[in-house]
Amino acid sequence: MEPRTVPLPRKAFPIFAANFLLLFSAAPPLNSQAGPAPLSRVQFTEIAAESGLNFHHENGASDDKHMFETFGSGVGVIDFDNDGYPDLFFANGADLAHGKPSPGNALYRNLGNGKFEDVTVKAGVSGNGMFATGVTVGDYDNDGNLDIYVTGFGGNQLFRNNGDGTFSDVTGKAGVGASGWSSSAAWLDYDHDGYLDLFVGRYLDYDIRKGPYCGYRKPGYRMYCDPQSFDGTPALLFHNNRDGTFTDVSRKAGIANPAGKTLGVAIADIDGDGWPDIFVANDGVRNFLYHNKANGTFDDITYSAGVGFDMNGKALAGMGTELVDLDGDGLPDIFFTAFSGQYNPLFRNLGKLLFEDGTVKAGLPASVKTLGFGAKVFDFDNDGLADIYVPNGHVTDNVALYDQRLSYRQTDLLYRNLGGGRFREVSGESGPAFRLQHVGRGLAVADFDNDGDLDVVVTDSGGKPLLLRNDGGNRNHWLALRARGRESNRFGIGAKVRVTSGGRTQLREINPYGSYLSTSDVRLYFGLGSATATRIEIEWPSGKKQAIENVHANQILLVDEADAR
């Protein structure tokens, strides 16, 4: 990692406007359509160390080669103190092979001046010493403070945000401790009762006392096993009882497939019926696509939708996943990462609950040497087209012993959306950050410096995270929204937002989940290209709708369901 010395700018100008709040403005409002910005390439600059992010991940790598040692951990973007600056929470692993508890999760407060401060101890979120993996941020009690659900090997933890900079471990009371090995999770209001429920993906049925030997019986050659050697574990769905407790409704809801080996979970309304659906990327077995039947249950429509397998009818080693419109047709598409030698597929949503593998048509590679984990779809250059970031890193630290063409540490990939559903890899021209070899795992995006473009944070299994500052994304215009739910959940998770500018409409959902083990900013960012004003329509999970005309670009807008009808 190369230390940088450029501080993050702090620019905050809260202004009240008619039916929304302009919370932050990075540039003066523009009244006229500007021409397309003469863009030089957007560059990503690695600034973790200089920002004070000194988190070091403990992956517990041992000679025993326990499967969880490969897992890495996620990162959660959480503005826990509601100061308008996204903070960061890192889940941490543990050296379980030697019986050592985790050195602890870490919470970093964004000071707004380019620096982060470690506030873990004060906040009380270090954790119970388990091998923590995923971070899922959401306000489950609608008190306006974002809470943290941490998944892991050996049980999960729910930290309730007390609103004073501290958190309380409410796992037992809430009844969401789960068992076994959980991976990615997501908050969603699947029954539209205004409270966030919790979907928890789980991975392998793994017993640390019975880890089998895999690989050659030669010193140094023991390797991590293929997940095929183990059974899967059913996912969990916890219904929010609205009193701080949850009920496990997994079987009743129809999402408890015992074969699940879940790594990625993404939520979106795939058919526009107003109800959130669930896509689950599984490792080595087919994926699951659960269609919400609007009665508290889901149908597994994977086979009819055509998203279970790769283009050859084989299950991929699905990792992180996204469910976002990538081709601008208003329908959420599926993207997920997969294993080295496979490919990172893009399934285009054709409507009517049908998908097709559009990877090759989209210009994405039909085979990749890298092993992708996280995945994030976001518009890094604010041109109005959603791009894709993939962090990479192999699972097997000694993979080069078996195949010299492969390496444990790998570089990340960035695909720019060219429009028309086509992508081009631009990693090589997007800054030295893309030459950094690391063991990429979790990935989240947020505008940490509130300058109008989305920055990236990537976790490293057994190492330090990358914080990649986006330099130049804000040369195009942009708009960000923060939702205030009333009948709907407090942060408007699941709300659909249509932004129309320059004759083009972008549809996105407020849904910070997806990727791998991680949560991104709950604020929703839109790139507007050269447009300086836009129209916004919001469809709340409650069914209420609102439209806002002539919204100026380059602001962070608070949209309130109280203004919806």
Binding site: Y216, K218, D226, S229, D300, S304, G313, K314
Partner: protein
């Protein structure tokens, strides 16, 4: 001589009779159109057309994702593809079928079979015992449970369970094979040979039955019969390396080194991908040993030394390789290396004692 580990897709053949039963069951599911489609899938499977069976099952599941028999048949069709890459998928479908309908006995049987071949013997045992509670005394379950018990270190239990299975169903070829394996564990080679001879005369004989018997014949120097068995195994499944390896052993024993080398190429062709496992480590080591023997026979000592060194690198625990290397170095006029390998061989042999 080591017996090769049996791969799941190959052992699937052991259950041909069971598959037929399962298909018969699946041909009479409650619903109409899907029932007909499942019937077609079952027929494809019976005819060895796994890909077509998979297509039919997926079509049924697209219409009815909760069809337990469709999940079961799909799992079986994946197994019938004989690809290690499909094991995870097969297991997932069988598990889902049982989750939807715990009464699907054959799904339980094949799941147990998969567990067994993955080395998850306790899970296999659990499935089989559950199955036997549902259907006490069912010969295929008894027989497989016997094999599970053998793998758990109790060959006597396998003898008992497989004998019971054979009492109930005398034509059950897999039970004979499992009996033979139990006899081999008990060092009763003659009894094992007798069971295997009965097994290979059955129409349900599988490549590993032929090959297991071939291995025994090789140790008894019955090379012509062994060669015949290897050819039968290969005729059934050319993708299996173990029969080719045995052929190479036979040719080396007859000093037909060129033919031995050809057989070894067929055992693990260049560019063939394989999973990284102890089985393949052992296989590569065995192949290197036979190559070493062939090159020794051809008086290509440098190549022979190279191959034996490769074998040792893959499996340093085999004294016999050190002995052969010691002999080669002696012939080469390199007493220092010869002494070194003799010492290593002695160390290993002492350790074995």
């Amino acid at each position: 001589m080591r017996l090769m580990r049996a791969d799941i897709f190959l052992l699937l053949r052991l259950g041909v009779a069971l598959l037929a039963s399962a298909i018969t069951w699946a041909q009479t599911p409650p619903s109409n159109v899907q029932g007909a489609q499942l019937g077609i899938a079952a027929q494809h499977l019976q005819q060895g057309k796994a890909d077509q069976a998979i297509r039919e099952c997926k079509a049924v599941l697209a219409a009815d994702p909760r069809s337990a028999p469709a999940h079961m048949l799909l799992g079986m069709a994946y197994l019938a593809q004989q690809s290690n890459a499909m094991i995870g998928e097969a297991k997932a479908e069988l598990q889902q079928s049982l989750d939807l309908d715990p009464e699907l006995l054959w799904a339980r049987f094949y799941l147990a079979r998969l567990y067994l071949d993955q080395g998850l013997t306790e899970k296999a045992q659990e499935q089989l015992e559950r199955g036997l509670k549902q259907s006490p005394g069912l010969p295929p379950l008894l027989s497989l449970l016997g094999e599970v018990r053998r793998k758990l270190g109790d060959p006597a239990a396998s003898l008992e369970l497989n004998r019971r299975a054979l009492q109930a169903e005398a034509t059950m070829t897999p039970a004979r094979y499992f009996l033979a394996l139990a006899y081999l564990d008990l060092k009763q080679d003659q009894a094992a040979m007798s069971e295997l001879e009965k097994a290979v005369h059955s129409p349900d004989a599988t490549p590993e039955m032929y090959n297991a018997l071939a291995s025994l014949y090789i140790t008894k120097q019955r090379l012509t019969e062994a060669e015949d068995l290897c050819r039968k195994a290969i005729a059934l499944d050319r993708s299996r390396p173990d029969a080719f390896l045995n052929l190479a052993r036979i040719y080396n024993a007859r000093h037909e080194s060129d033919r031995a080398l050809e057989a070894l190429i067929a055992a693990l062709p260049d560019g063939k991908s394989f999973s990284v496992s102890e089985y393949y480590q052992g296989l590569q080591s065995d192949i290197a040993v036979e190559r070493g023997a062939a090159y020794t026979d051809k008086k290509m000592f440098a190549r022979a030394i190279e191959e034996y060194a490769k074998a040792l690198d893959l499996d340093p625990s085999r004294a016999v390789i050190h002995r052969r290397l010691a002999e080669l170095y002696r012939q080469k006029g390199d007493p220092a290396n010869a002494a070194l390998h003799t010492k290593e061989a002695e160390k290993l042999e002492t350790g074995l004692r």
